[in-house]
């Protein structure tokens, strides 16, 4: 091989390695879902309405078989694949959560109680745990297998278990394309909470729903944008 060929080979190899490193850094290490802004146009003292969904699949990421949250953009009304939500401080947040996933028992049943919401309750409808439309403060996921995911902010004491779609239903009725269409079986949970002062508050799901990973807490459970994220509370 001539000197020129060797030099070119070396240069190409160097560029390939550099490109690989840049790709890993930009695409993986620095990757971050978009922040969904609920503060734009917010009038102080007025509540904020937020709508989210939890899906068994998603078709908008590199990991379509991972369970995931979606949030409805207040600006466009479209579903956004993000778990970073910017909220105004000291404001009532009215949450509507559509849950399309099947159930899993909680690892720790203490997370079956509703805490940190206004009144310490949530309202569930369209589900299978027999409390259609009632305000409840507890779901026993062991006896009913009634919880699919949770919305939990440990530092704020907020925990809301979402009732799940049972396994016994025909698979054709279970959502297999995320974000899910409302025609698929789902439950609807509503609750409200009040944001604290400015700061970043991490939240996560406490159902170990990282399918086929050790202890169920890998993959979606450990990746911001899927089943965990943070509330970016601003003044």
């Amino acid at each position: 091989m001539s000197l020129l060929a060797r030099a070119v080979t070396l240069l190409v190899a160097f560029l390939a390695v550099t490109a690989g490193i840049v790709f890993v850094v930009v695409h993986i290490l620095l990757a971050k879902p978009p922040t969904v802004d609920f503060t734009a146009g917010h009038v102080a003292g007025r509540p904020v309405d937020m709508t989210v969904m939890t899906d068994p699949v998603n078709d908008v990421s590199d990991h379509p078989d991972w369970v995931s949250y979606f949030v409805r953009s207040p600006q466009t009304g479209k579903w956004v694949h993000s778990t970073i939500w910017q909220l105004p401080a000291h404001t009532r947040i009215n949450v509507t959560a559509y849950e399309f996933d099947t159930c899993d028992p909680l690892r720790n049943q203490v997370m079956g109680q509703v805490t940190g919401t206004i009144g310490g309750v949530m309202s569930v409808s369209g589900e299978t745990i027999g409390v259609n439309g009632k305000a409840i403060s507890l779901v026993n996921s062991d006896t009913t297998c009634g919880v699919a995911h949770t919305f939990t902010v440990p530092s704020l004491g907020i925990n809301v278990p979402f009732a799940g779609v049972p396994y016994a239903v025909p698979l054709s009725k279970v959502c297999s394309l995320g974000p899910c269409a409302m025609s698929f079986l789902h439950t609807t949970t509503t609750f409200s909470f009040v944001t604290p002062g400015p700061g970043e508050y991490r939240w996560q799901c406490f159902i170990p729903c990282g399918l086929a990973t050790v202890d169920g807490n890998g993959h979606a459970m450990s990746t911001i944008g899927f089943m965990t994220g943070y509330l970016d509370v601003v003044s």
Binding site: D104, P105, P154, S222
Partner: protein
């Protein structure tokens, strides 16, 4: 600046040594005064404020250990600094000194050898004995002793029946620390097995922490209590302490355990016994419906072995989530 040869002043072979000042005495006098002053300041002024404080017996014990360590180490550090400074200022090689060979070797000096071995042995064995006593006898180390503790404050390991008997003020309080990704919860078997995300303890009370995990390895670190114990799945790791002061306790995970390890912390409180009992009774009543859904109090839990769950997964053709340890092909089928 004085310039002298580096030879020892008492060397019989070095006639120049006859006129040398007594460097050893000078260094000793330069060292002993700041060493004593520093030790007194450390023990009486800074010592009471050393971490982790005196909120519990184990914390106070660790603070005592830090004080002893500081009082022993500070004179050594000072000696090194003073000796180095003295040598730098005092001793210089002469321009015409071309001797680069070593001095005469010391051989067969029995008194030096005996003194060296004796002093070293006394120091090492004494510190080993002192450390062992301090670790075990008065207060415990504050660390996990595993499921079969060697030392405990009451002389006997409580049985599960004793751990679930109603608590009385002044008696040992059992707190089960349950770690999971990424949260600590605390279970009080003497109050009906109620479980809360907040740690609350009575003051002047011996505490038995039973630390376990529901998934991966965590570590329960109650900083102001001087308690740090690994939380392993399927293991009951017991740690003891006795609360001595009221105040706030910071609890953190001290074992890298995943994405939100850095956010796995909470606060606790040490309060008067009456306030604790009132809190525990009201919490027990308030969370009665939740407590009913919890498994019966046990030293360890196996949340990944929920009866019937595997069958559900199998029928649905799903791999094992729900905390399953195995991928789908290895997931055991429950008929």
């Amino acid at each position: 600046m004085a310039t002298t040869t580096p030879a020892a002043p008492d060397s019989a072979e070095d006639p120049a040594g006859a006129g040398e000042p007594r460097h050893g005495l000078r260094i000793f006098l330069l060292w002993v005064v700041p060493a004593i002053a520093a030790d007194l300041l450390l023990w009486f002024v800074y010592g009471p404020h050393m971490p982790p404080g005196g909120m519990s017996s184990s914390a106070a014990s660790q603070q005592f250990d830090f004080k002893v360590m500081a009082v022993l180490a500070t004179p050594v550090v000072l000696f090194v600094l003073i000796f180095s400074g003295y040598a730098f200022v005092t001793w210089r090689a002469r321009k015409d000194d071309d001797s680069e060979h070593d001095g005469a070797p010391i051989r067969g000096h029995v008194r030096v050898q005996v003194a060296w071995i004796t002093i070293s042995s006394v120091l090492v064995l004494g510190l080993a004995g002192f450390g062992t006593y301090e670790l075990i006898a008065p207060n415990g180390a504050g660390s996990g002793e595993g499921p079969s503790p060697v030392w405990n404050p009451t002389g006997a390991r409580l049985t599960v029946a004793q751990m679930t008997a109603p608590w009385r003020p002044g008696h040992e309080l059992v707190v089960q620390v349950i770690a999971q990704q990424w949260l600590f919860t605390f279970r009080y078997p003497q109050f009906g097995g109620v479980e809360t995300p907040k740690l609350e303890l009575p003051v002047d009370t011996p505490i038995q922490f039973d630390v376990t995990s529901l998934d991966v390895i965590h570590s329960f670190w109650a900083y102001q209590l001087g308690v740090k114990a690994d939380a392993n799945p399927q293991v009951d790791n017991v740690a003891y302490t006795t609360t001595r002061q009221t105040g706030t306790v910071n609890v953190r995970c001290a074992e890298l355990c995943g994405l939100w390890h850095g956010a796995m912390y909470t606060d606790g409180k040490v309060v008067p016994a009456a306030a604790f009992e009132a809190w525990a009774r009201s919490t027990q009543a308030q969370l009665a419906s939740v407590t009913k859904t919890l498994p019966r109090f046990a030293l360890i839990y196996t949340p990944n072995e929920i009866k019937g769950l595997n069958k559900l997964y199998y029928q649905a053709g799903l791999p094992g989530a729900g905390g399953g340890y195995y991928p789908a092909q290895y997931y055991p089928y429950e008929p």
